[in-house]
């Protein structure tokens, strides 16, 4: 009798453990837009190290499982599946015009209402639309559905209407200006209080507009928005994961999510790898400094006598360098492990698109719940920009929403594992090589997963000293 109860207890506790590990994860993942975040907390029912180890093991196990798929034809069928819907020229031009008008109107409202609207983050159109809209919702639309920024981008609309292209863009710079730009924008978002003070945000957007227009007019909008403009490059890279793409030849082309990452060789040099890494890193960084533990760590270092900005700067750029370095290191290890004439650089370029799938998972984990709960506020702001509501509505999310963060981080990594697996089969003639080439990258991915799962499990706080 004793034995059966023990067994039953084991069974029940096991079932319970798997359920809580799935469902009792944290509620509000941290993100950069702390000005809008209501911090809430829920404790894990499994010890943290076990939760992190399980996440890491899930990625490792899925890489092993993917390595069981060795049929080249099946792998190719998955990533080359496509269908397309023809789009009438008139419809396309009409949508383009609607997009441009919408983009210009939004930019105008953001700057105007940022200065003149109510100076409270939850009431101001500029803050709501920039962070709940552009940073969260629109970015999600970009990677879940399709990249429409080219049509909406108000600065492109203006720059194409004016005389432009006085200087040739120095192409040897690649996308490094955009990398620096994205790092700078995320820095402004975290450090300058633009998520809390609408007039500051409006000033930042106005300044950004001037810089962008000058740049776009100088080198021509195509080169500028392709290589140098941080927002465009940011959205363009996210858009590569999306299933739908506008295409001049066949209208709307539809693919399986993430499979363009395998077939379209759009990452070509170290700068492009850096863009992909920066997308992963910026979410990790803003995720770290906006948690209680991150804030406590920074406070501790600052109280030891270092200036706060130096601490943030070293953490920000050092962490980015570490993320990029680890990834490049993985490609060096891969070349050493297998017989090949591919250079480490070439392999790093080849596997970089899979990082975008990871970035998508992180973005969803950090912004999905945030964006759903603020959606009534966003709809209210967009439908009546000039009359802010007295009581902004925010949806209260059920507790299981917190578990989605974990699911998103893992799903992003699983997609990345599959993308890298498909790339490896495209690259190497030997199937064993394709499998072996994955190991260093999988180890790096496990590391990214653990860091990220740790971050989404921590309670949100305001970053100190900023």
């Amino acid at each position: 009798m004793n034995r059966t109860t023990t067994l039953r207890r084991f069974g029940v506790s096991l079932l319970f453990a798997s359920l809580v590990s799935l469902l009792a994860a944290p509620v509000a993942a941290s993100n950069g837009a702390v000005g809008l975040a209501g911090a809430s907390q829920d404790n894990l029912a499994v010890p943290q190290w076990l939760y992190l180890a399980t996440g890491g093991a899930t990625v490792g196990a899925s890489a092993l499982l993917a390595s069981f798929v060795t049929d080249r034809r099946f792998i190719e069928r998955v990533h080359s599946w496509r269908t397309s819907v023809a789009l009438d020229d008139v419809v396309r031009r009409g949508l383009g015009i609607v997009g441009s008008v919408l983009g210009l109107a939004l930019l105008g409202f953001i700057v105007y209402l940022g200065f003149t609207g109510p100076q409270a983050p939850t009431l101001n159109f500029a803050i709501i639309v920039t962070f709940a809209g552009l940073r969260a919702g629109y970015t999600m639309f970009t990677y879940l559905v399709g990249d429409t920024w080219r049509a909406v981008n108000p600065w492109r609309t203006v720059a194409t209407l004016l005389p432009n292209g006085f200087v040739e863009y120095p192409h040897k710079l690649g996308r490094w200006p955009a990398v620096a730009g994205i790092l700078a924008l995320v820095w402004v978002e975290t450090a300058a209080g633009v998520t809390r003070q609408p007039n500051l945000l409006a000033m930042a957007v106005a300044g950004y507009s001037v810089l962008t227009l000058l740049g776009a007019l100088l080198v021509g909008p195509d080169d500028w928005f392709d290589c140098a403009d941080p927002v465009s490059v940011f959205l363009r890279f996210y858009g590569r994961v999306a299933p739908i793409r506008w295409n001049d030849e066949d209208g709307l082309s539809v693919r399986l999510p993430g499979m363009r990452l395998v077939t379209d060789d759009e990452v070509t040099d170290l700068a492009d790898i850096a863009v992909a890494v920066v997308l992963v890193w910026e979410l990790t960084f803003s995720g770290f400094v906006t948690t209680e533990q991150g804030a406590a760590a920074i406070t501790a270092v600052v109280e030891a006598g270092l200036p706060a900005l130096v601490v943030y700067g070293v953490l920000y750029l050092g962490g980015f360098a570490a993320f990029l370095g680890l990834y490049v290191l993985a490609s060096h290890l891969t070349v050493r492990r297998i017989e090949t004439f591919e250079t480490p650089r070439a392999l790093a370029v080849r596997f970089a698109p899979s990082l975008l799938a990871i970035a998508v998972g992180y973005h969803l984990a950090h912004y999905f719940a945030f964006s759903v709960s603020l959606s009534p506020m966003l709809v209210g702001a967009l439908t009546a920009p000039l009359s802010p509501p007295a009581n902004p509505v925010v949806l209260t999310l059920p507790a299981w929403f917190g578990a989605l963060n974990v699911v998103f981080v893992l799903l992003g990594h699983l997609l990345a594992v599959w993308v890298a697996h498909s790339q490896a089969y495209d690259t190497f003639p030997s199937r064993m090589q394709a499998i072996r080439s994955q190991l260093p990258f999988v180890v790096v991915m496990i590391f990214y997963t653990i860091v990220s799962l740790w971050l989404v499990s921590l309670p949100t706080a305001s970053p100190p000293f900023l």
Partner: protein
């Protein structure tokens, strides 16, 4: 990008006539031609490809068994960890 391939020279360089890709061993070139240009192969080459393919199949089989072992270990390892530590 110019430096995508490290063009090692000497006897260890096996170049595909069709696409110019170079491989460090004859076996890899055979596998490459079989997978990428199956219509170009002569009867002898088809035979060689088949042989290389099945040789690799054996290697894959042993890899799969080891991978399965690791998966089983991971599964039961985590099962035990959850029983012991989750509450």
């Amino acid at each position: 990008m110019s430096d995508t391939r490290n063009d090692g020279d000497g006897p260890d360089r096996h170049v595909c006539e069709r696409c110019g890709d170079a491989y460090p061993s004859a076996r890899l070139l055979t596998l490459h031609r079989g997978a990428r240009h199956p219509d170009d192969l002569t009867a002898d080459e088809v035979e060689a490809y088949r042989e290389a393919y099945y040789a690799e199949e054996r290697e894959l089989k042993s890899f799969r068994i080891r991978a399965l072992g690791v998966l089983v270990l991971m599964y039961f390892g985590f099962l035990i960890l959850f029983i012991l530590f989750a509450s």
